[in-house]
């Protein structure tokens, strides 16, 4: 039995005859399992597969290799190529121009599928592009004032928390990228893991997320400016330069002293007064309720500080917050 006869036999027995039209690509392995397919290809069709480490390894582990198949109508030419999911490379393409040909196995290691990630970037170029694309600076200056005025000093704890969470995501995505090293990132990962609909969902969200990020990166958002302005008005004048001190104390870092921010306004740089300042916003008729302030400041404090805050400073902060004295 010639190689191509065995190929055809295998093709019929494995149900590959589901090629819907000529020239269409089809995946050979459907539910029979990739290991079966690679073994058949290895033994019957592609003798050269036996010397390819990726296929052999994948065969052992239950099919890391994906084998594609293409039939050109009329001439009967067939083409198959195997993609090793481990290395992400198309290892071999074979071509049978005629059914009577004996030698069909032609190793073409350079042939690549369209999906394969073209590694045109080195480490440095990829790092530079990623830094420019997902630069943290853009997001930081967009949200810094907003977060500071909305959450107070506790806002800084968002950085390590979000860093840890996003690090987990990055590690998970690293494994996915290593498993499916195809051009298209989230689309290919989700698509290969769960199906085309999943991949399309991820791609659609990413398309709009990135496109709208292009928009938002250019001008400062009016709503942000409004919020910051309103918050600044609400906090009152003297709380603007208190913000830094409160941030430092909020972080619980002892001994760190920040000069007043209004130094360049002509005033003398003063040392800070830590007592007697209330944490409430300046009351201009619409101050925050004191009870809410106390609750937020005291409980949220203990919950979020990872190391013990000295009880004296905690108490004084809470008392200051509760004292509800109008602004000096």
């Amino acid at each position: 039995m010639t190689v191509s006869q065995r190929w055809n036999t295998f093709r019929k027995s494995s149900g590959v005859g589901q090629v819907r039209s000529s020239g269409e690509k089809c995946r050979i392995s459907n539910c029979a399992g990739s290991s079966e397919i690679s073994r058949s290809l290895q033994e019957a069709v592609l003798p050269s597969f036996a010397c390819l480490p990726g296929i052999r390894r994948s065969h052992k582990e239950g099919g890391c290799a994906s084998i594609y198949w293409r039939v050109f109508g009329g001439s009967g030419a067939q083409q198959a190529w195997a993609t090793c999911a481990r290395t992400g490379r198309t290892l071999v393409g074979i071509r049978s121009l005629d059914n009577s040909a004996d030698e069909v196995a032609v190793a073409q290691p350079r042939e690549r599928s369209r999906d394969i990630l073209n590694r045109g970037f080195g480490f440095r170029a990829a790092l530079s592009l990623a830094f420019a694309d997902i630069s943290p600076i853009v997001a930081l200056y967009a949200i810094f004032a907003l977060g500071l005025f909305a959450a107070g000093p506790r806002f800084f704890w968002a950085f390590p928390i979000v860093l840890c969470g996003q690090l987990l995501v990055a590690l998970g995505c690293t494994e996915l990228a290593s498993r499916f090293p195809y051009a298209g990132s989230v689309y290919q990962w989700a698509r290969h893991a769960k199906g085309t609909t999943w991949g399309w969902t991820a791609a659609w969200a990413y398309i709009w997320g990135l496109t709208l990020t292009c928009v938002v990166a250019l001008p400062p958002r009016q709503s942000d400016l409004d919020i910051v302005r309103r918050a600044a008005r609400q906090f009152g004048q003297h709380h603007e330069h208190d913000a830094h001190r409160r941030c430092v104390r909020g972080l619980g870092i002892p001994g760190l002293r920040i000069r007043r921010l209004d130094r360049r306004r002509g005033g003398k740089p003063r040392t800070q007064r830590t007592q007697g300042h209330c944490l409430r916003p300046a009351s201009r008729g619409r101050a925050w309720p004191c009870s809410r302030q106390c609750r937020v400041r005291s409980t949220g404090w203990r919950a979020i500080a990872p190391f013990p805050v000295p009880s004296s400073s905690r108490n004084s902060l809470a008392q200051n917050a509760c004292r509800s004295a109008p602004s000096a």
Partner: protein, 132 residues
């Protein structure tokens, strides 16, 4: 170079820039926070599901036995963040559709996406390398 894709992105971005300062712009632009979270949540959830069913085959880079808990933790973190970002906070002085802008933009973009996907789904014929 994907010239057409880059050009289309630039045109669409410039078009939305014309709405700068309006409320519609704020509603749309808020999605820039939401979009990447969803985009990375979907494959991480997919990986977590394949790990749950025990069909995950690691690639070249693998975290070893830490891979599974890290993926679960990443999925949990992303779920938390998506809910957190979607959650409408009431800011004083903002109209309701700015407070609910995440939900609104997500639902509307999802509706458009379903229509587009239904139209182009049959044309996606690229093979799936290894479906888990």
């Amino acid at each position: 170079m994907p010239i057409r894709a880059i050009g289309l992105t630039a045109i669409v971005a410039a078009f939305f820039l014309l709405f700068a300062g309006s409320d519609l712009y704020n509603v749309l632009v808020n999605f820039s926070v939401m979009g990447p979270y969803i985009a990375f949540a979907v494959p991480v959830f997919a990986a977590a599901l394949t790990r749950l069913t025990g069909r995950w085959v690691p690639g070249v880079f693998s975290l070893g036995r830490w891979g599974t808990p890290v993926t679960y933790a990443a999925a949990a973190w992303l779920a938390f963040e998506v809910v957190n970002v979607l959650w409408p906070r009431t800011q004083p002085g903002q109209p309701w559709f700015v407070n609910w802008s995440m939900v609104i933009s997500l639902v509307s973009l999802r509706a458009v996406g379903v229509v587009v996907y239904a139209r182009c789904r049959n044309r996606i014929t690229e093979p799936v390398g290894e479906r888990l």
